[in-house]
């Protein structure tokens, strides 16, 4: 067991973890941050995506021990001053979600992507989200919603 300090959504948490504990288990089972979803639990669906020092990672295949001293942002912390992030707003208003299970992962993938690529085309968005599986929407509405969010972000 090793002590790790995690800076999660602006709060600091200190925990003892073993070398095999994944960040997904830590978030969901120990810190009750259940917004991050467990889909496949083996790196193949994107629903567990969180940001580690600003970079998206799959928390189901990220050992918590590697996150010592680092900043983690989950879906619970992506909103700004109590408001949904524009990507969340658009997914909700434009039909970009149905059951919502894949949505936290889509948001945590799309937000850093749009920061790096504010002028992304539909094809770019499709490629960026190609690791996020959704069993409900058929993807079209997700892509549209993310494009609309990009427009919202560009126009402030």
């Amino acid at each position: 067991m090793q002590k790790v300090k995690l800076h999660i959504n602006g709060f600091t948490r200190t925990l003892l973890v073993n070398a095999h504990e994944t960040l997904l288990d830590t978030l969901r089972e120990r810190l009750n941050l259940t917004g991050t979803k467990r889909g496949c639990d083996q790196g193949s669906c994107g629903s567990c995506t969180v940001l580690l020092d600003g970079t998206p990672v799959l928390s189901c295949i990220t050992p918590t021990i590697r996150c010592d001293g680092r900043k983690i942002l989950t879906i619970e912390g992506i909103g700004v001053n109590g408001h949904l992030h524009p990507v969340q707003e658009r997914l909700a208003s434009d039909g970009g979600l149905q059951c919502g299970f894949c949505t936290p992962g889509v948001v945590m993938t799309a937000v850093p992507f749009l920061q790096e690529n504010p002028d992304a085309t539909d094809d770019d968005i499709k490629e960026a989200l190609s690791g996020n599986l959704c069993r409900c929407t058929g993807y079209k509405k997700i892509i549209e919603a993310v494009r609309h969010a990009a427009e919202d972000l560009r126009h402030g």
């Binding site: 067991m1 090793q2 073993n18 070398a19 095999h20 994944t22 639990d41 083996q42 790196g43 193949s44 994107g46 995506t49 970079t55 998206p56 990672v57 799959l58 189901c60 295949i61 990220t62 050992p63 021990i65 590697r66 993938t109 992507f113 490629e127 960026a128 190609s130 690791g131 599986l133």
Partner: protein, 309 residues
């Protein structure tokens, strides 16, 4: 509760010494995107984890004119986006872009890809699945579930960077506790899933990969069901260099990458296909049918040939 130890060495020497101190139960951790899948499926349970992420010297990228030298902790995302790699070695950028997903590529490294574990539809399954079908040679069983054999494992080498790099005539630097060696990348692979990476040596770290064989023509294609997420069912990478040497490397259909190297004018299409097929030991251990994969080897090589001629 697990008793695994975790180490975060700051230098290659330190990592190599740690591996020497734990010869039988250590694993080097790069991006972890391959290891973690094996941990999840209870295929491995490493006791000593040696995390390479703090070793800055493994992260260098140097491309001077046609000389490319890459540290093995460079991520696949960096390879895809590097303008010099796109310019001088586009086949490598294309190969990296074909791997996993954009998010996984931000963690996955070059070194991990060179040593990605061989795949087989009877082995890379959940614990329950394997229990119901029966374990195999590569796991805890005593026969190969595909061939019924007792000695060899036919699991497939599925790296997509490896065929591109072998087609580029790449060489690697390997550091072990006894010293530093240089070798052609192709020599890293033995055609048997049980011993595939043994030339690396126990506790060997691949530190660098390099090439200066800038191709005048290149070709790369990967066969899979979806354009994202799926591992390869067949990858063909080929180059022609300035001296008209054709290098065709085929992966995903045999236990190790298969290379055919010849003068472009010294071989016919039929001869090339025959040489490749003879060297591939393709068995029925992928979700795509065996006959189809064998036919696609011919189809890909024909397509490549037509592009080059």
């Amino acid at each position: 509760m697990s008793t695994s130890s975790y180490f975060l060495p700051g230098t290659i020497d330190e990592a190599v010494s740690l591996a020497k101190a734990h010869p039988n139960d250590h694993v080097f951790y790069a991006g972890g995107t391959d290891i973690q899948l094996h941990v999840k499926q209870r295929l491995i349970k490493p006791n000593t984890i040696i995390d390479l992420t703090a070793i800055e010297s493994l992260k260098s990228v140097s491309i001077q004119k046609k000389n490319m030298k890459l540290g093995t902790m460079v991520t696949l995302d960096q390879i895809v986006k590097n303008p010099d790699i796109q310019k001088f070695y586009p086949i490598l950028a294309e190969a990296a872009k074909s791997i996993a997903t954009p998010v996984i590529r931000k963690s996955a490294t070059l070194g991990g890809n060179l040593k990605v574990s061989n795949r087989c539809s009877f082995y890379n399954q959940s614990f329950d699945w394997r229990q119901s079908v029966g374990s195999c040679l590569k796991d805890t069983g005593d026969i190969c579930q595909v061939t019924g054999g007792l000695n060899h494992c036919y699991s497939r080498n599925v790296s997509d960077l490896v065929p591109a790099l072998i087609a580029l005539n790449a060489r690697i630097m390997v550091q072990t506790s006894t010293g530093i060696n240089e070798m052609p990348l192709i020599d890293l692979y033995v055609p048997d899933g049980l011993i595939v990476h043994t030339p690396l040596g126990v506790g060997g770290i691949i530190t660098e990969i390099f090439t200066s064989d800038e191709p005048s023509k290149w070709w790369f294609k990967k066969l899979r069901l979806r354009k994202s997420l799926d591992f390869t069912s067949l990858t063909v990478a080929a180059t022609v260099n300035k001296k008209d040497v054709l290098r065709v490397c085929v992966n995903g259909v045999s236990m190790a990458p298969v290379l055919v190297e010849t003068g472009i004018n010294d071989v016919t299409l039929e001869g090339l296909i025959l040489q490749v097929k003879r060297a591939c030991k393709t068995v029925d251990n992928d979700y795509m049918p065996l006959k189809y994969r064998r036919e696609m080897i011919s189809a890909f090589i024909t397509d490549c040939w037509n592009t080059f001629h």
